[in-house]
Amino acid sequence: MFAQFFGNYLLNKQLVTPEQLITGIQAKNETRLKLGVLAISAGYMSAAQVEEIHERQMLEDKRIGDIAVELGYLTKEQLEELLDTQKVGYLLLGQALVDKGYLTNGQFEAAISDYKHQYQIDETESESFDDEKAEELIRSMCDFSSEDAMMYTKYLVLVMKNLIRFIGDDFTPLKPTRMYPLEIYKDVYQKINGSFTTDTNIVFESADSMLAFANRFSGEGLGATDGEYIDAAVCDFLNINNGLYTVNVSNEINMELRLTPPEVFDDIHDTKGSVMTFPVAYTFGTIYITLSE
């Protein structure tokens, strides 16, 4: 989940535009992690050293890792370790943005170190990113005013996990707002009832983004004319997410919540109270998770 939050950080710092970020996310899966980026992220080499090696590589037919060891920038052990590093989402994203020329190695170095420092994320944690860290990041993005801030935060963390699990990890959460999205194609709605009550919605701006979402969830290869199945797929996603939420809440704080059957509306199913909209930019379009407060 770290990669998703890291994308959000890059946007907030205006290091990349939303369009560049989406292009980067799209390219992420085809990106091969370069040793230089890994070395910078691990703190073994500076951006300047990586540049120097790149220049030398143009003159000598040697691999980057070998040159780094030759120059004494890396030990053999460090090189082994870097080569062993598996594909890590946020590094792939950083690499893709550097490859596209949106970020320099230096900007990436500064951003990753600032980001890790700000949220006290160390190298091991970024790979096994835990719920607590995710909750902290969500809280830093939202300004839930009510006493139920913890309930909303847990909800949004679960949504992000389920989006990654069922829809895909090619997204970045955008800055939450207090307004409904301007363009509305459909609103998929379900109420959570009990000692904690909230209206949950997934709002789509276009038929295309809803179809893409439904296809990723269902794996059914639905077409534009399969309206009933498209609606059902999004309802099922929301229902599964909210069902898991009630289970978690019941287990963790012994609170029993109930759900209404999910419904689909052609416009916002307006509810009382204020609204928190949590936009999620996927490569196929932006979806909006909204909660009533």
Binding site: F166, E228, C235, D236, N239, I240, S250, N251
Partner: protein, 122 residues
């Protein structure tokens, strides 16, 4: 497990959830599959078709799955009903078992778990 004599009633308000389960059960060779889109339709359909096994969602319009289980069991105390829901809280499971359900599947449902539950219940 021979399923060629087994009839199944799938009660779920989601057309997609019904389709996925139906597709899998067909491959497994069950004799016949019936569907219901809400709790009331589930009760009516059960009385009409007397299926071997029922898969019952909990959160449904008109009548929820637990109330439907109560009414089906009242009609047929031997009914073999499996709850299939995203809401698997202990208290709801307790309610469902008390109402007469025999087993539970947590959504999202994978095909293996359908076979396992059929193995337990038949």
């Amino acid at each position: 497990m021979v399923l060629s004599n087994v009839t199944v009633l799938i009660c779920d308000d989601s057309i997609l959830s019904r389709k996925k389960m139906k597709d899998f059960l067909k491959v497994c060779g069950v004799k016949e599959i019936f569907e219901a889109v809400d709790g009331q339709a589930a009760v009516d359909e059960y009385k009409d078709k007397k299926p071997t096994v029922v898969f019952m969602d909990i959160v449904m319009p008109k009548k929820d799955g637990i109330q439907a289980v109560k009414e089906i069991v009242e009609f047929d105390p031997e009914a073999k009903i499996v709850m299939a829901s995203s809401v698997g809280t202990q208290s709801l499971l307790k309610d469902a078992l008390k109402a007469g359900a025999k087993d539970f599947l947590q959504k999202p449902i994978n095909d293996d778990s359908i076979l396992q539950v059929l193995g337990r219940i038949l």
